[in-house]
Assembly symmetry: C3
Homo-oligomer: 381 residues x 3
């Protein structure tokens, strides 16, 4: 049996004592559509949110579309090789420009309705029949810009009018995962889950492992649930690392890896799985031989989609015997176990008998997350 890990200066297995009477949030945070909209405004529409991988934007014209709150956003690679993001709405009569979730644009974005045409830099290039309109200038009608930045292969967008730099939001995270060389990894599998649960329940579920021995027996076999060493909660992320038990190489159906360790990792990193909730919508899981990402898309106060993606090193993926099924099936099973509980939590919290309940000291990250939410809601807009 694996012993709980011993934290260095960053990680600690002994949790701080929460103040007496530290409780879960009131029900309205999980049931009130108005409060949900306020959260989207103050959190998702005012922060950098994870949108996808640069791998999907390989060459000029490659794009994907993301829906966040009521925004539809095109993220693309422009002709200078830069990343761009725009509101997916024609400036003429408001038609949605790209209806596919991803694809490749020619060097222009043309509206399917009346043919208004934009460059990949968003500038309006052609607006048929507008030339006779008094005072009309094409330069007045570019696509609505959305901020976009990259971090180690991850693409983030920001809907706010005056976004801070992504680096400020990420803080110490930006350097922490350099050894994994995340930007080199490639997508092998993608699964989408539809939850009947508020987005916060997914992050809360992710941020503690007290439920693991009950809900995830296979995970518990491969990593002891008390081995999780958390960092103290950070302003914009919450996370830590858990220790693989002796003989376990990675989290997979049988605990074996069949792949080389990611090239930049040392012994210490290879004995742990790192779990970070990068607020508000990316759950990043770093294993010795693969990276798992969950992207959380809030749809309604009681409905969320989660996109789960498995990324491996391209050297491994090129091997004829490459087989991601061990990690894929392990996490697909674990995901389904977690989502069922998240749905049950939504149902219970929505019901008349719910009262806020007490957190244990090992739910420190959840309390940190609740404070993050409350602080954001309380901040002046």
């Amino acid at each position: 049996m694996s012993r709980p890990g011993r934290g260095g200066s960053t990680y600690g297995n002994t949790r701080p004592e929460l103040a007496a009477g530290t409780m879960t949030l009131p029900a309205r945070h999980y049931t009130d559509p108005e409060l949900f909209r306020a959260e989207l405004e103050r959190i998702h529409c005012d922060m950098w949110v994870y949108a996808g991988r640069t791998e999907a934007l390989a060459s000029a014209g490659s794009y994907f579309v993301r829906q966040l709150a009521n925004a539809s956003v095109i993220v693309l690679r422009d002709e200078g090789g830069g990343l761009r993001a725009f509101h997916n709405v024609c400036r003429h009569r408001g038609t949605l420009l790209c209806k596919e979730e991803q694809g490749t644009l020619p060097s222009r974005i043309q509206c399917p309705y009346h043919g208004w045409t934009y460059g990949l830099d968003g500038r309006l290039m052609n607006a048929p029949h507008m030339e006779k309109v008094e005072g009309f200038e094409e330069s007045d009608y570019p696509l609505g810009p959305v901020a976009v930045e990259e971090w180690d292969g991850h693409v983030f967008i920001n809907l706010s009018a005056r976004p801070e730099p992504l680096a400020e939001q990420l803080g110490a995270l930006q350097q922490k995962f350099r050894p994994w060389r995340m930007q080199e990894l490639k997508l092998a599998e993608r699964r989408v889950y539809h939850l009947k649960a508020n987005w916060k329940l997914i992050i809360q579920n992710y941020s503690e492992c007290l439920h693991c021995p009950i809900v995830h027996p296979l995970l518990q076999q491969q990593s002891h649930y008390m081995s999780g060493d958390n960092e103290a909660p950070q302003p914009n992320y919450l996370g830590g690392r858990m220790e693989l038990r002796e003989g376990v190489e990675t989290l997979s159906m049988d605990g074996s890896s069949k792949r080389s360790r990611l090239p930049g990792l040392g012994e210490e990193e290879a004995r742990h799985v790192y779990y970070y909730a990068i607020l508000p919508n990316l759950l990043l899981n770093l294993h010795p031989d693969y990276m798992l990402t969950h992207t959380i898309w809030p749809l309604a106060v009681d409905r969320s989609d989660v996109v789960c993606e498995w990324h491996f090193h391209p050297d491994e993926m090129r091997k004829p015997a490459f087989d991601p099924s061990g990690p894929v099936e392990f996490w697909d099973m674990t995901n389904r176990q977690d989502w069922e509980l998240s749905d049950l939590a939504q149902e219970g919290i929505s019901s008349r008998g719910y009262r806020p309940g007490p957190y244990s000291n090992r739910e420190d990250l959840l309390h940190g997350f609740d404070r993050f939410v409350l602080d954001r809601l309380a901040a002046r807009p």
Copy 2:
């Protein structure tokens, strides 16, 4: 042709004259979601509501779950043989405890998420990892109690904080049906119907037989629609009895019974069918040889579920030739005829042309029911 029955002191076939201008309710009582929520609070959540039969709670740990308004309630038999009801919500993080509609619990209720464990008496027995939390006492976190009582085999629950005794709500009803020995009867068939109608339309449909010759020709063949003798409307129930025509033994597809009369019944009772709306959600139909119950579950201002159950004497059910299909098919057909009209009433009342209309004197119970609803809404909370 059967003549209208002649009432004794309790029952009367001659209806009182309603006051001039006695009209149906305004449309908003059938269309306004806010008024619907107010009704649920002032009526369903402040009264005893029928939940099921003790038969389903035979031994320690037997339970069923009911959803009423936004409450999910576990009703169970405890280890001392008593009935208990609790909010189906864990006191830790609000997870729904029982997700099946019925079943048998071991001697504990364990939350599927983090394993908080409660006794069948609702006391918190085990809360993992909480022992280090300052000021935490298990005794502070029992399951939320819900009042529960039994009447002749019928289980009622009450969500209000200070419920009056069930006997007070039932009033004279409590003794009226002793001869039927309802607690001895057993369930033979259960059918669930999904209506696009407000819950009140179902009770109103049930409370008059003027529609019977038009809508229910088979019922009309077996009991004349003018034979219904009503009691004067009572505070919490509305009902009466109708006479079986000569040669008709019970209400069934062919009017025959093939079963012994229920053992406690006399001649008078065996010639009638008793119909009582036990407010707010139980429709009780007593036949010479079986008991029919409809339970009405309001889901939205324009949507309700009705659970229809057929109960027979166990002596009859033990016979190899026992066949409930005559009553089952008779009432399934009659139910469908009624629900179609209830749905049409909902559609018409929701439409722009609706104006309250006049009741006839034979719709006295409906007017009594409308007053019950208005009085409840007007009462101080």
Copy 3:
């Protein structure tokens, strides 16, 4: 290649210059359920709306039912040969009277619930068991009347309490299409489309052909998109005519007609297709050999049904070789192209990036329509 048509005094191909800064409507006109309800009240429930054809009301008792806003309306032919319209709601307990969309009534309308019976003139003829109710008079409870009028075979209804004559609403339209003898034409095909778009987007799509070369290549082959000659916007209708290219006989899959020209038409009319949006819900397309009608039924702020019907001359329909498939398939394809764009416009306008955009001069009818909507909303109720 066909040259743009040359307008006479009525029609003009050269469009007036719109004032600088003439823009599309703010998003709330397409997304706010309250504003949608206000539009229905101020526009659809306060004007004559197209309901169907007299052909469907051939003899006494023929009826159809239409749903508009929250009204359900029966339109029928009475025994004197006149048209009548009534709220489809029984005056007793509000039951919907006719549940089929069309049919033939015996000389009475009987409620399916309790048998209250009305004449085809709406008078209450029989109300069972009401005779004993003090003060009850059948004459006090006729069906709620709805105004109905006919124009050249088209039936219009008006839900307002004091409707102006239909002729006033139609204005000059009433005489304009005499040569087509619309009242003689007969229905050959009917298709219903379900759109995820606000009703106004359908009228806006209909009122310009700038999108035709991009979206409707076959239409563009048969009539040049710049050939549309519009009338100046009228108070209650918007329209014009487009020229058929040389060699094109009508709009159909191959541009041929295979039918005689409608008997009343001259050379000039036979070389054009006339397109009129008769506000608020009828799109009338007159071809040399057939009439196409689109009826728009708003269902929600972002949902509409469109009923498309193809009407031909009965002399042609009697011919054994009569085949409407050319026009039917042409317009079914064109409809689908238009509805896809209307749905994309709804999606784009509903999204965060939408801003009102500038109209070109060739979108003059759309601006006229927007003003019609704003004027109606601003008018005192």
